[in-house]
């Protein structure tokens, strides 16, 4: 028979019986946690205007699967949930008093590099809390995320938390111009600390600030590690950001053993404005999800509300089961 009838295009797959069932089971556990915590489901359209992805994470726009409709509008298969949620809130919840709690689950599509063994369709499940202010809303969302993981068969799942303001404060104190800044960001992102040190020195950044960059790049641990980092940082914005991480952890005593402060990772896309989460499954040594606060994204859609959320890879969760 013709391979194009019985085969699948590269980058796609089916989930059959037990694979499908384990995904369904995880989704049901998440759904019951979401509904018990007051989050309501949205199922965004699978097709959007490509321009929806012009805001926020630029990598998403580049990788979106695009096509033309009959009027030659440039459309895309859903490539990310968060912009769709922002669009929905902007269109339907403008008059509703915040906060708004939503969750979603479904496939997203992104072009991947050829022959890297990556799928072009993958499933995400996540939640967003829109219109809630930092300490309380961040704590609520992190609590919900960890509860979801715990209930769906990942009792040892843990989270690394960071805050975009820590690095932002330090970088603002460097006084670099934009082009140098992106070079510095990318060196930090690669963790090439020697090259970074040399480059910062060339750019005339003083020794004390270079030492602080170095400290951040090594800070991973409990509240003592965080306190040690705090004492070496001298700008106000970074200190406040570190303090807000401390207070976030204090709000969640039941998850104390699951929270690691990790200031090493930077948000190269500058998508997040506050806390950042990376969810990990130690038993499988994999990252299963991410999240954080992105207070400027909603404004791009004409709704001036802060937002915090998270998103898990259903594919990773399903494989770990």
């Amino acid at each position: 028979m013709d391979g194009k009838i019985v085969g699948l295009p590269a980058g796609y797959r089916d989930f059959i019986f037990s694979d499908a069932e384990s995904r369904r089971r995880i989704e049901n556990e998440f759904a019951s946690v979401f509904s018990s915590r007051g989050f309501r489901e949205v199922i965004p359209s699978a097709v959007e205007y490509l321009d929806l992805y012009a805001r926020g994470n630029q990598g998403v726009r580049e990788r979106a699967m695009r096509f033309l409709d009959r009027d030659d509008n440039l459309l895309a298969l859903r490539a990310d949930f968060t912009p769709a949620v922002a669009r929905i809130v902007s269109a339907h919840f403008r008059e509703m008093p915040p906060p708004i709690r939503v969750w979603y689950s479904g496939p997203v599509f992104r072009k991947t590099d050829r022959h890297r063994g990556q799928y072009q369709e993958f499933s995400q499940i996540g939640a967003e809390l829109i219109g809630g202010d930092p300490p309380a809303a961040d704590g609520e969302v992190l609590d919900v995320a960890l509860q979801c993981l715990s209930r769906s068969g990942f009792p040892d799942a843990c989270v690394h938390v960071n805050h975009a303001g820590i690095f932002r404060g330090l970088v603002n104190s460097l006084g670099l111009k934009q082009s140098d800044l992106s070079e510095v960001r990318s060196a930090i992102d690669r963790k090439d600390m020697r090259a970074l040190g040399v480059r910062l020195e060339e750019l005339g950044v003083n020794g004390s600030v270079r030492a602080q960059v170095n400290t951040l790049s090594h800070t991973v641990g409990d509240s003592r590690a965080l306190a040690a980092a705090a004492s070496s940082i001298d700008n106000q914005e970074s200190r406040e950001a570190i303090a807000s991480l401390e207070s976030l952890a204090l709000r969640l005593p039941r998850w104390r053993d699951r929270i690691t402060f990790d200031l090493t990772e930077i948000d190269e896309m500058e998508y997040y404005t506050g806390v950042m989460f990376t969810f990990l499954s130690p038993a499988h040594s994999v990252e299963v999800g991410r999240g954080g606060r992105y207070d400027s994204l909603m404004r791009e859609f004409g709704v001036d509300l802060p937002a915090v959320g998270f998103s898990f890879s259903m594919d990773r969760l399903g494989e770990c089961e």
């Binding site: 963790k191 020697r194 991973v220």
Partner: protein, 216 residues
């Protein structure tokens, strides 16, 4: 095995210098007994496990997390645009990636420069940065010959001394990149196997920067 840090070693020109450097860092790789060796083997201390691979495959393994860390040339790393940490420039395997052309011929300006290379993405980025349009011919074998036989006007390739180029009647037009071997680390491994990965980084960093000039 899943919990020991698994490190990819590049087969070929970087293997000897790479394992020597690891040895200086206190991570001793025992020589293969009578030439036969398992696909995956531990170091003498048993803290790490190693798997020799073709260099071009290493970034994909490390990016996916199948392998936690690896030693690989920056030529291969840039070509594959792998999303990994690069915490240590090992200072070994140093050479230049250059644009070269047959001596005595002028490169066509604008229009239709044809360039043969094993590094199509790097070459494309290089010319895009200069806002020049090129046609790239991707080859796997010797690229000098492509230029000499007329398949391409120029080549982008690695040179160590430039002797091979001269012997083939070619000259270096311009540097494309400095190449050296890097330690690369998977992003999740840095978090999940933090202690062993950091030990590896610190040891190698110390060896590289406290004994400058001993490599090569």
């Amino acid at each position: 095995m899943k919990n020991r840090v698994l490190i990819a070693l590049p087969k070929g020109r970087l293997y000897e210098t790479g394992t020597e450097l690891l040895g200086k860092a206190g991570i001793i790789i025992p020589p293969a007994a009578d030439g036969s060796r398992k696909l995956v083997f531990p170091d003498a201390g048993g803290r790490y496990e190693f798997v020799p691979l073709k260099p071009i495959d290493i970034p994909v393994y490390v990016e996916s997390g199948t392998i936690d860390a690896g030693i690989v040339g920056s030529d291969v790393l840039r070509e594959l645009e792998a999303d990994v940490y690069e915490p240590v420039d090992l200072g070994i395997g140093i050479c230049r990636m250059v644009l070269a052309a047959p001596s005595g011929t002028a490169l066509p300006r604008g229009g239709s420069l044809r360039v043969a290379t094993k590094y199509p993405r790097t070459t494309e980025r290089f010319f895009r940065g200069k806002q020049l349009h090129v046609h790239i011919v991707k080859l796997d074998g010797s690229v000098e010959i492509a230029s000499l036989l007329g398949l391409a006007d120029a080549i982008v390739d690695l040179v160590e001394t430039g002797r091979t180029l001269r012997e083939n009647g070619m000259h270096i037009v311009e540097d494309v990149a400095r190449v050296s071997a890097k330690l690369i680390v998977n992003r999740t491994a840095m978090k999940m196997k933090s202690e062993d990965v950091r030990h590896l980084i610190t040891q190698l960093d110390t060896v590289v920067y406290e004994n400058p000039g001993q490599q090569n």
